[in-house]
Symmetry: C2
């Protein structure tokens, strides 16, 4: 059945039945003019919004409806992670054509509900509208600070170490593989087209997952914030080059990062070898890593982190004076300027689905 | 210059320069991964989101860029008004084609900044994305309760009076006039095409304003909430018929409203007379009134309202038992069932720009 046949109110009734009981902080959930939440006394409210646009951030081929919902939740939660906060409540504003199948839209919301459940976030409201254009899933997330503290982009000083969590480039590699015909079945099996079967298939899976189902680094953000470790922090949504340049611009600093230190994802190393391309560009400009990029004054304090939680952190460089610029120290001993290349929504050379 | 030439980061830099200094509740404004706000202790956070989609909610002809921004702020603020809350901070997520003129997009944001300034709301963040589709302005608003109270849609009981603020149908009449060729110049003068000059032109202006620049009923919502007057409240976005049916469904009640009591806007009365159409349908199903519809147990308590503030409230009917249905008592003494007709985003017979 199409949405135009069911109508907005009846769709929202169906949706409401699927929303689980809210946590104790939610005083009024979906269904009223606004949601109402009682936040812990003394904490700041953290607010962020991010959007997924069909044929810009995803295509129906690269991202099934359930994962559109899951990813919309994760990329927003990543912003709260980068602030060192705890995600609390989420609103989803969804625009779809009137001919959209009800089941497909419900699958998007199922993905939202599933992922909010996993991340212990309450789904508290949203909005549904028709559009003559592509599907748009716009999510706003409300988080809270912990102990009145937060991580911000400001505060990095020359001499600080530069760290990144996890591995770089996997999401961009996953997108390439999806666009080249790799797919994931409903049961989660990776389907590999003939022309890709010679490649390092076992390494493809985690790249596909990185693209479809990113993992916001909530615990790491909270750890950095709680122990006042990071002097600045940002989440990597537009690629290391661009987001590092942002941190430098905001703080009036330079940076020097080292190619050999970059934690490039093994799937990127392996698949870029097949493509006879250096893996560096994906690590620098691939985008959608949703890892945390942060600076830190005293490295020693990070000692306990890698043992205690699931994600590694890697020292990739050092903060310099602003007149040093933003530099990449290459394997061959040379240096190159690291420009703001990465994912620019308006200047991108390539968007998903437009090869 | 087009956005594709300027790029996202440089556009956001230009935008930042326009954002005025934040109020004391904002601990971190635009430019970081999330905004941070310190809300008053003991109050609930109120959250709502609403979207304006080009060629669904507006066209470039009916709504100039500055008013797209102004209206997006107002319709969201109306949700906080319906909760009896105080609007505090606002996020705007804007999707536009890459070929959009920078000046045009800046005008949208200027409208947002102008209207948030007027309503004493801090603009704290947002997001900018390209889209291959129409312009989409998705706004999320954060408000707070006052004295720990809020108005909700729940609580109406049989015997309660039903009230509406302001006048009905003006926004829908304004949209008709705009689509028939009426326009507003940059200086605010109403431009009337030849075929409409015989009509009641002086009454057109407030209809055009109601469509382009609605006024959220913040003071009224706060008054109703502070004095615990209203047993339920909703803002009229989709037309009286549909929103009254929503209140009835939510509360398991019926309602009987009276045609002769409806405060139909004089512009609707006059222009529908020209069109030889009864004005009733616009008042019931026009939509976008952004007035408050509320129920109240003790009418006497409302006595002081009309004298103290700018907007009148009108008693239009009474809450009945649910088996009485939702009825309209007509001028000729008959009754008709009042169905959920109104603006349904997926079943609408007509959207703006698609006559």
């Amino acid at each position: 059945m199409r949405l135009s046949e069911l109508g907005e109110d009846r769709f929202l009734e169906r949706l409401r039945e699927r929303v689980p009981a809210s946590g104790p902080e939610v005083k009024l959930g979906i269904g009223d003019d606004a949601a109402a939440l009682a936040l812990p006394v003394g904490e700041m409210a953290l607010l962020s919004t991010d959007v997924l646009v069909e044929n810009v951030h995803f295509t129906r081929q690269t991202l099934p409806p359930r994962f559109i919902g899951r990813k919309a939740v994760a990329v927003n939660t990543s912003d709260i992670a980068a602030m060192g906060g705890r995600p609390v409540g989420l609103l989803a504003s969804v625009c779809v054509p009137v001919v959209t199948e009800v089941e497909e839209l419900l699958a998007v919301f199922d993905g939202i509900l599933e992922r909010t459940g996993e991340l212990k976030i309450d789904f508290v409201g949203g909005n549904l509208s028709q559009t003559p254009g592509p599907m748009i899933v716009d999510v706003t997330i409300l988080g809270v600070s912990l102990g009145g503290r937060m991580l911000t982009r400001q505060g990095a000083r020359p001499g600080d170490s530069i760290y990144v969590s996890g591995k770089l480039g996997a999401a961009a590699e996953g997108l390439d593989l999806l666009e080249e015909g790799m797919a994931v079945s409903a049961s989660g099996a990776v389907l590999v087209p003939k022309h890709l079967r010679e490649g390092p298939v076992p390494l493809a899976e985690s790249c596909l997952r990185a693209h479809r189902d990113p993992e916001p680094r909530i615990q790491l953000g909270q750890f950095l914030c709680e122990h006042e470790l990071a002097s600045s922090c940002i989440d990597l949504s537009d690629g290391l080059s661009r987001d590092l340049n942002r941190i430098c611009r905001e703080n009036g600093i330079g940076a020097r990062i080292t190619e050999t230190a970059l934690p490039i994802h093994p799937g990127v190393l392996a698949w870029e070898r097949v493509r006879r391309r250096p893996p560096l560009e994906k690590a620098l400009a691939g985008g959608e890593d949703y890892e945390l990029l942060f600076t830190i004054g005293d490295d020693q304090k990070l000692r306990n982190w890698p043992d205690r939680h699931g994600v590694a952190v890697t020292r990739i460089g050092v903060v310099t004076e602003s007149n040093q610029g933003v530099k990449l120290h290459l394997r061959d001993g040379k240096e190159r300027a690291l420009d703001s290349a990465g994912w620019d929504h308006f200047q991108s050379k390539r968007a998903p689905g437009e090869p």
